[in-house]
């Protein structure tokens, strides 16, 4: 098991290292010169442009630029925003809590509702199954920004249950503000998790050991819990992990639509303003979170089913 975790960790480090090079290279090759936007105004003088290029090392060769960025990152300083003139750590620090809360909120909704829908669809009758399939299909078809418009129209403008925009202050007020964004994020993922759950539970229900347990006269709930859900868990956990990891990237849409001050809206805003330093740091952070969450899911699954760890070793 220890060997399995170490191997997984090595994979994470390699992935993040490659990602850092790809992210930096992509932005280096992106069309347009950040200096022009940073100079602002409508007629930047050559002197001003040269000044900006020197300040941000934009005039140095690629390896030198990449190295100065990487050494800054490794020493815990991702630099200062070119546009906002604030340290990147401060910008991320001010928004991290909101995004984590939003992702956690959406993840809980997705996992609880998704697994519940899936199990009910698998064990319930044909009508229940059909009804849930229709609901999840509709949810799947609605992209987050469309869901945002609908949710605002129904719950904020028409019913006034929730605020239209903003991040709120304090825990309950923040939950109140983040409910609609979390629901907007939930749609497609919820359908995905519930479909996988339904398929896995169905497959387990048809297995021999479940039939044997039923014949032994065990109560229905016990059979479901001990024999069906336990065996169906690993694929569901794996899918859920990928879902939660993906949520970090997906929050951008919901945060923009609901005027939530999180990392996603910071990424969108920084990209639009060519604030390369912030975009680099945020992209790498999102990749790292994605890879780490996936690793944790693999480890969790291996703990649930030790055979997985041994398979990986073979």
């Amino acid at each position: 098991m220890t060997g399995f975790v170490v191997r997984k960790l090595a994979g994470v480090v390699t992935t993040v290292a490659v990602a850092s090079l790809v992210i930096f290279g992509a932005l280096y090759l992106a069309p347009g010169d950040p200096a022009g936007l940073l100079a602002g105004g409508n007629q930047p003088s050559p002197a001003a442009l040269a000044e900006i290029r020197a300040r941000y090392h934009l005039d140095e060769p690629f390896p030198a630029q990449y190295w100065s960025w990487l050494s800054g990152l490794l020493s815990g300083d991702p630099g200062t925003s070119m546009v906002l003139k604030e340290p990147v750590t401060a910008l991320i620090g001010a928004r991290l809590g909101t995004t984590v809360l939003l992702v956690a909120y959406a993840a809980l909704l997705i996992l609880i509702l998704g697994v519940a829908f899936g199990v009910v669809a698998a064990v319930g009758g044909r009508r229940v199954d059909l009804a849930l399939t229709v609901i999840t299909t509709v949810l799947m078809a609605a992209p987050a920004f469309v869901a945002a418009i609908l949710l605002i129209w129904l719950f904020a403008t028409t019913l006034s249950w929730f605020p239209v925009y903003g991040s709120g202050t304090g825990f309950t007020d923040r939950l109140h503000h983040l409910t609609l964004p979390a629901l907007a994020l939930t749609g497609g993922y919820l359908a995905y998790v519930s479909r996988i759950t339904r398929a896995e539970v169905r497959a387990e229900l048809a297995a021999d050991h479940v039939a044997a347990a039923r014949i032994r006269g065990l109560p229905r709930w016990t059979v479901l819990r001990r024999h069906v859900l336990r065996n169906a868990a690993p694929p569901i956990v794996a899918v859920s992990g990928v879902t939660v990891a993906g949520l970090f990237a997906a929050t951008a849409v919901a945060e923009q639509a609901f005027g939530v001050a999180g990392l996603g809206s910071l990424l969108v805003q920084s990209a639009a303003r060519q604030d390369v330093i912030v975009v680099q740091a945020l992209s790498l952070l999102l990749v790292t979170v994605f890879v780490v969450v996936n690793m944790l899911v693999d480890v969790l699954n291996a703990a649930l089913d030790p055979r997985l760890a041994r398979e990986g070793a073979a």
């Binding site: 022009g36 105004g41 930047p44 442009l49 546009v83 229709v134 469309v146 403008t157 925009y165 303003r273």
Partner: protein, 544 residues
């Protein structure tokens, strides 16, 4: 199954359309008539707190040297005041300066008002003014207003309350520019101590305005509080606090206005005009503006450099249809790139008005004349490229309209969307303009002055003269206009030049848009004119 999901999606989309446009049935003809007002009814009482939206998003900085766009201006002009004040009719009046005199073509004398204090109580001095103006000339600072100071030779203190500006070449646009952010005054001691952090969320500001910067939560809001020791008691703010929130999504912004969560906005979304006009949460006002939509020729060679091709494209586009389609009726066609509001407050207004009235009117399309011009010009190629900044919906519509019009006169106009940095680069890097014939842009004047645009477009080697336009008569008249201290004579020379360069369509000006202001019914007093862009407008907002 497929059928159900299809129906569900259709239902969703149907709802969405209703949600954001409030019914598409009413065409532009059925829309309520638009009346223009310069101001809204004056406020009679104080109000505790106002929440105001910034549709262009969070400002990058509030340092006047880094202020040059909608968001930063909307907030910053209530904090850092300028030497002159901009009125709703685009005339100017004394601000922190009690008077500014153009002594001769090369000398401007600024006399400061006595008794002005910064937020910390310290008096405004000539040193602060010299420091504030000189900052824009420092290449290290790379001020957005650097071009305003391009012709300045020296800025010196010539008395306790007097500052004199000497010029290398005459520049009659300089004095009106001081009504905007380029003439904003900051405290020398605080600014030099704050360094690069000045004007940021952590560095703060020190100015003289009716509001103080009380807080800036990165990504969430900027809070201003009333300056209770404001030097101009008549102009004291009526709101105790102003919260600026950043709402870039048009649909969310509209919902927040309708729900009363946001009290007001400048630049209300064009797509929501009908919904906002029907709302009983507040009122949508339309005011005069200097904002324009235009197509600019960027190539020094090829078809776009031929005035006949530009005139043909101008004649092929129906400006009235453009106003109805892109601006939903909230605008009007313009005859040239200098909008009339820019001289409305000038003592020589009648000269400018007569000159404008005499320009040819091309607001209606004339395809026969346009085709004739194309035949005459016999362009070397009919495939042209128009560039727009990616993601700008109005400009995409504009480019599409231009494309359709071009097709009717045998020109094939391809639309190319550029990332913001690439698009910004077009303005200073000729290399990036390779392979592009036209750009679609919006622009505005934040200060008065008929001479704001023209020199940059028509003089040889000027910043925006990308087609290498040259006309000795125009050059002589524009140089004469920027050197002439008598307003009437300056206006005559400008008008004479305009009569020649306007028909050359260096810019194909499509329309001027009206300023769109929405106010919740609990507040009033904000100027409806675009003059808000350079004035302490928030101080007037209070209870009805």
């Amino acid at each position: 199954m497929k059928l159900i999901s299809g129906t569900a999606t259709t239902l969703l989309l149907g709802l969405t359309l209703t949600a954001c446009s409030g019914g598409q049935g009413a065409g532009p003809a059925a829309a309520p008539a638009i009346t223009l007002v310069e101001t809204t009814p004056a406020a009679t009482g104080d109000v505790a707190e106002v929440t105001w939206a910034l549709p262009a998003g969070e400002p990058a900085s509030l340092d006047p040297a880094r202020t040059g766009d909608y968001s930063a201006n909307t907030v910053g002009t209530n904090l850092c005041e300028s030497l002159l004040r901009l009125e709703t009719d685009y005339s100017t009046s004394p601000g922190l300066a009690s008077g500014i005199v153009q002594k001769d073509p090369l000398t401007v004398v600024i006399t400061l008002r006595d008794g002005v204090t910064f937020w910390d109580g310290s008096p405004l001095t000539a040193d602060d003014v010299v420091y504030s103006l000189s900052r824009h000339m420092d290449p290290k600072l790379a001020s957005y207003a650097a071009h305003v100071y391009a012709n300045v030779a020296a800025i010196e203190k010539t008395g306790d309350l007097e500052v004199t500006v000497e010029f290398k070449t005459p520049d009659m646009q300089f004095v009106p520019d001081l009504a905007g952010v380029p003439g904003a005054i900051v405290q020398k001691a605080f600014t030099s101590k704050a360094g690069p952090a000045f004007g940021t969320a952590t560095g703060g500001l020190m100015c003289t305005g009716p509001f103080r910067l009380a807080g800036w939560q990165s990504g969430q809001k900027i809070t201003l509080t009333r300056n209770d020791t404001y030097w101009d008691s008549a102009g004291k703010a009526k709101a105790a606090a102003f919260d600026f929130v950043f709402l870039t999504d048009s649909s969310t912004l509209t919902s927040a206005l309708l729900a009363g969560e946001v009290d007001g906005v400048y630049g209300a979304p064009v797509g929501s005009i009908a919904a906002l006009q029907r709302s009983d949460a507040g009122r949508l006002y339309f005011g005069p503006s200097t904002e324009t939509f235009s197509l600019g020729a960027v190539a020094a060679d090829g078809p776009a450099a031929d005035p006949r091709i530009r005139q043909a494209l101008d004649l092929a586009i129906d400006k009235t249809a453009f106003v109805a389609g892109v601006l939903k009726g909230a605008g009007e066609p313009l005859k040239t790139f200098t909008p009339p509001l820019s001289w409305r407050g000038s003592p020589a207004r009648s000269v400018y008005d007569a000159g404008y009235a005499a320009l040819p009117d091309t607001s209606k399309a004339d395809l026969d004349a346009a085709k004739k011009l194309v035949t005459e010009a016999a362009p070397s190629r009919t495939a042209l490229v128009i560039a727009i900044p990616a993601g700008d919906q109005s400009l995409l519509q504009t480019a599409t309209i231009a494309q359709a019009a071009a097709r009717q006169i045998g020109l094939d106009l391809a639309v190319r969307q550029l990332q913001p940095a690439e698009f910004a680069g077009l303005f200073y890097d000729p290399g990036l303009r390779q392979g592009i014939d036209f750009i679609a842009t919006t622009g505005y004047l934040e200060v008065p002055g008929a001479l704001y645009y023209a020199p940059g477009f028509v003089l040889e080697g000027a910043a925006f003269n990308w087609t290498n336009y040259r006309d000795p008569g125009v050059t002589a008249n524009i140089v004469g206009a920027v050197s002439e201290t008598d307003p009437a004579k300056s206006a005559e020379r400008f008008v004479a030049a305009q009569a020649v360069f306007a028909p050359a369509r260096l810019q194909i000006t499509l329309a001027g848009s009206y300023n769109r202001l929405f106010l919740n019914k609990r507040i009033t007093g904000a100027p409806a004119s675009f003059s808000y862009i350079s004035s302490a407008w928030a101080a007037r907002v209070g209870a009805p």
